[in-house]
Each structure stands twice: as C-alpha cells, then as structure tokens.
C-alpha cells in the first residue's frame, strides 16, 4: 500500500508577535501535567479586549489538553470580537492542530500579519 495523505505538510511560523496585541508566552511544558500554569497565564489577559497573541517559541512539549484549552479560549475571544493569534509555532504544532480538526478555531486565527 502506498498511503495517500490528505493532510498538507505542516507549516509553521517563526514570526514575531504583531504590534498592538496582548502577548502571552506559553511555557516550555504545555502538557496536561502543567495545564494549570497555562490557564493561569490566560486568566491574566482574559479580560483584555485586544487581540491576544500566543507566543509559542518556548514550547517544547504539548498535547491535546493544551489545544483543547486554547480552543475554548479562542471561542471566548471570538465572542468578544477579538482574535487569538499565534506566533512562533513549530511544524508539529500546526500538524497537531490540523490532525485534531481544530484548524477553523485555532489556525484560522493564527494568520499573524
């Protein structure tokens, strides 16, 4: 069998955060064991009406729990009329977002100018 992969090759971004947005730096460990720390960081900016950019450059480990939390956070931002953007995403972050079918919620808002 010669498997055909529909999923596009993962992309990624190493852009700096866009000016004017609130930046949240994600920790090195973004797995379920450290998810409370990420939630705390998001709590600190949740009330901000501006766009929020997640700086992913330090992230070394992540799993679905983080992407789930960010999905919920992105919906909240959208309800406030603000965007959740990302910068510094590595290819496996983008691949994971695509594999989990979360592109519309997460990657959709990650088009950093």
């Amino acid at each position: 069998m010669d498997p055909v992969r529909k999923l596009a090759p993962p992309g990624g971004s190493t852009d700096d955060p866009p000016p004017g947005s609130q930046v949240v730096v994600l920790p090195v460990d973004c797995t379920v064991h450290n998810i409370s720390l990420l939630r705390e960081r998001l709590c600190g900016v949740a009330a901000d009406a501006r766009d929020i950019t997640l700086d992913l450059r330090q992230v070394e480990q992540f799993d679905t729990s983080t992407l789930q939390l960010l999905t919920a956070f992105a919906r909240d931002r959208a309800a406030r009329g603000a965007r959740l953007l990302t910068c510094g995403a590595r290819p496996d972050w983008d691949e994971a977002v695509q594999l989990l079918g979360l592109t519309a919620t997460l990657a959709g808002g990650s088009s950093v100018p």
Partner: protein
Amino acid sequence: MTIDLTQFHDAFFDESFEALDSMEAALLQLDTGNPDPELINTVFRAAHSIKGGGATFGFSEIASFTHSLETLLGELRDRRLTVTQTICNLLLKSVDVMRAMLGSAKAKQPVDIQSVADLQFDIELIIAQRDTRMAAAPMASRLDSGTAAARGTIPEPGASVEWHIGMRPGPEFLERGTDPVRIFRELSALGTLTVTAHLDALPSWQDLEPQRCYLSWSLCLLSDAPEAAIREVFEWVNADCGLTLSPSSLISAGATAAAAPTIVVPASQAGSAAEAGSIRVGVEKIDELINFVGELVITHAMLSQISRSVTGPAADALRSGIQQLERNARQLQESVMRVRMLPISVVFSRFPRMVRDLAQRLGKQVELQITGENTELDKTVLEKIGDPLVHLVRNCVDHGIEKPALRLSAGKNPVGTVHLNASHRGGSVVIEVSDDGSGLDDQRILSRARAAGLASPDGTLSPEQIRELIFVPGLSTAEITTDVSGRGVGMDVVRRNIADLSGKIEVHSEPGRGSRFLITLPLTLAIVDGLSVAVGDQTYIVPMTSTIESLRLTPSQVTTIADGREVFAFRDEYLPIVRLYKTFALTPRARALHDGLVVVVEGAGRRIGLFVDDLLSQQQVVIKSLETNYGRVPGISAATILGDGSVALILDVADLIRIASRREAA
C-alpha cells in the same frame, strides 16, 4: 517539540508483561492441527501492542523484534502459513526473548542482542520459506473473525474502503497521557484522513476543567488497509473511550457495498473486560492502608480494655459504641486485606509452559491439570510460594512421571498427569501438587540417607519417617544429576521457604500410584492467629498454625538424657523441651515443669515442647516487622502491640527448632 514519555514507561512495562502472559497462555492452548483463529488473534494483538509501545517509547530493539514476530503472526492469521509445532516453539521462545528484552529495558540494562538476532533470523527465515500456495486460499477463509466478512463487505486487495470512525474519549482520557494526535497520525498513514472535531461539549473556557477531555471526533478514512489494521491503531486507547467503526462504501474493485450496522468497538478490545472496572494502585499505598487499619485494631483493643474499668451512666453507651467500632474495624480490616489478595493463578500460570518444556526435554508425555486457580492468597505469600512450587512440579515431572514406554508396560496411560490444586480450608490455603507417577521409593531414600550419614544404619523407620528424609539437606535419590533436578538441593529449601511463610508441607506417596505434596499456608502475613503465653514478665505470641497442643507435664513424664537435655514422650515420639526463659534470658515465675505448661509446636518438619509460665489467651494480632524497625532477633519473627499498648514478640517456631537442633548437634 516532544512529550516526555518516560513517565509512561512503568505502565508500558506492566502492560507488556501482562500481554506476554496472555500471549504465552494463548500459545499453550494453540492446537497445531486446528488452530483457533481467535487464539492467533490474541497472540497477534499482544505482539502488536508491545510493538506499538516499544516504538512509541523508543525501545527500538523491542519494536524491531516484535515487528518481525508480527509479520509471522500476520502470515499465520491470514493462513498463508500453517501453525506447526516448530512455529509454536519459535513463538514461545519469542515470548521468552521479549520478556528478557523488557526486563533489560526496565532495569536499564543492555539487551542480549545475539539471542534476539538469532531468533529474529529464524522467524524471518520461516517467513521467507513460507508455502506460497497458501496465498491462493479463498479470500473469505483468510479473514479472521472480523466483522466485515460477516457483513458482506469483504474488501479485495487494492480496494479502498471509506471507514467512518466515531471517537468519544472519556473524561480522563487526556489525563492518562493518551494523545489523540498520535492516534490520528497513525491513521493518516493508512490512507486519506478527514477529521471533524465536535466542540459541542466544550464548556466556556472559564468553566473548563483543563485536565478533562470534552472533545470528540468523527473521522473519515479512505484506505485499502484491512479492518484489523485500523482497529489496531486504537489498541492503546484507554478503556474510557467510546469508539464506533463502520465501513461506508467500497470505492474500487470488487465486492458490493452493503449497508452495515455500526460496530461498537470495545475500547479495551485487546485487554480483558475486567480491566475496564479496575485501577492500578501501588502496593506501598495498600500496605500503608493496611498499616493504618492495624493501628485501628490496636486502638480498638486499647479502648476496649479501658472501657472495662469505666463505671457510671455513660459506661454502657461507651461499651456499645466500642462494640460498634469493633464491627466496623473488622469489616474494614477484611476489606483492606482482600485488596491485597490475588488469585493463585498468578503463580499457577507459569506451570503449563514449564511442564511442556520439561516434558519435551525429558522425552515424557505429561498433562498438567490445574484446579482452584481462583483461590486467593495474600500477595506477599504468593510471591514467596512460587519457587517452592517450581521445585515440586519439576520433581513431579522429572522423578515422578515415568517415560511412556515404562508407563505402558505398567498398564498405565502413557500420558502422565501432574495436578495442581488450591483451596481454602478454614483460615488457611492448601496447595496440592500431585502426580500419578511411580511414587517415592522408600528403600532407595533410606539407603541413600544411610549412605550420606543422614539416618542411622540399623534404626527402624516408619514409611512416614522415611519420606520426611527427603526434606533433609543433601539427600537426592536421582540416578543422574541434571539441570532439572537431582542435586540434593531443593526439598530442604522448599520446606524452609514454606516454614518462613508460617506454613507447612506434608508428603504422601504410594508406590506405582504417585506422590502428593500438601502445602498449608496462612491466608495473609499481615495478621496472625496467635496463642499468647507468659514467660516471666513478658508476653510472647505463638502462631496458631505452629501450635499442636498444650499440656502440663508431671515429673514422671520427663526424662533427662545424658547431656542434661530434657525430653518427654508425645504421641509415639520423644520431643525435646525448650525452656523459653533460658532462650530469652528471663527470670521465670515457674522453673519446675509441673508449675508451668508445655506448648507442643511444629516447624521445619520437627516438633518440640516450649516450656512457658502460663497460657494467657488466643487472639488475632497485627504483625509489625522487627527487621524493618529494629533488626533480626533469633527465635523471633515479628512483634505486635497488645490491647494494653504493650509490645509482645511473635515466636519464630521454625527458627527456635533450628536453634534447638544446633544445640543438640553441639
């Protein structure tokens, strides 16, 4: 970016060893003439599961070896290869090699690459030499018990099928370290994957418990991979994940698409159903719980003792409350003790393979019968009874069961039988190891014992006394010393190990009909039924399992022999008297034998009389390790705390008898 997977290594090793156990059990049931496809599937799933884990956790040797093994199993499953005795032996060897590899990986030791490479070569050779005619077998017969065949959606080679997969993880899915990304990545390698995430259960981010899984997915996979390959991707999915898998339509070549009911895939398809309702708990946590329950039992005993001196209007209510506490404490204690209990099948399960291999090597035909394997026993007892049982079963196969020709000439079935049985009797567990072989040869035992100076040359011994000689160190009646048995070490170690567990072993034998070994063990080592005795100002506990009788001796019943040792007649034998106050250097209340009592005890195959001041009571006591908290004390196995808060020492009867024997010998 990588996830730290080392945290899951222990779980991987535990599950892999369990998978190997089930693999071995399935292989031993495999009928080479007419193999049950489900057994082959079980073996395949176990190998696949280990391969997946090995690859995920970076154990490349394990992943590589199991990959070759899986290929061979795939050939067997799809009936392109026939199950033969040679292949069966090879698969059993593979189980051994994988156990060794996992053991090495767990201990962070290097793997024995040569033995792995040799076996891997043999496996790959068989695959290369397979009978290609088998490949032409009808497609339907090549399918295992898979459901697609039953529904008429049999994909032909090259036909792509659109599979609809529903995946709804349970709340703890993510917390357990299972990542859907890895599963979807594996699926995408099988074909074209479309993923739709369902966010309807996702609460607002403020209400979200971040460790909990709220997401679920619908997947559409267009693939020519067999259904089994798709299911295998989900093998590492935890038990709390609901899955549905259904083929939608055949896209190309061959069979007609058919409307098919949705198949609910049991989440723990490869595992046992029982696992779904269980959790793994560290033994140390259970031991801590047992320790606290022990403290509760002691506290109750103290309160109960204090309440006896309380008077006044509240006294009755207090005593009633303490009685209620006793009932609750006892129920709690029984429940906690049950947590430590494991079925003896944990130990028995090693014997089918061992007996099979031994019989093959010795040119014998042996059937192993196992009954009572669900009998439960404390984990610590189980761990320590394994080696003695191995000795006994080996001896049965090696010395007991005759070769087929000899059995036939004796009018017996050429296939000998070794029977392992376990049952509860009162507060003990009795394990029986028996065979229908030649039985013990009393004359040979006696002559060997005399030759070794272990029995007097002219003394007369009863058959029971002669059989007791097999437990004496250094005696072997084997004609040839092999690596199986016959080195004269074993039965004495068996008896000592069993005595260390506060148990005992008896042997019965009938010439030409076989032998029977009966092992009696306490249910648990955490609590013991004991007889409390007074010696001077101290209280000692004699385990009831070692106690035979207590009696008051008259001077006429006691004989003092030449070296000053005292003996008394008890049921046709003379037993030495051990004065406990001398052993423990105490000042007794009774020095004359008729002023105190003698407790007849048994251990290590011998009996002695322990002289004590008085008997106090019979009670259950909670065992507290002396060695952990203090150090080893000769003649003492452990300590306990009595109702008044004082400490009492528990006698190690077998050790006291050994001490007495050494004094006799000196």
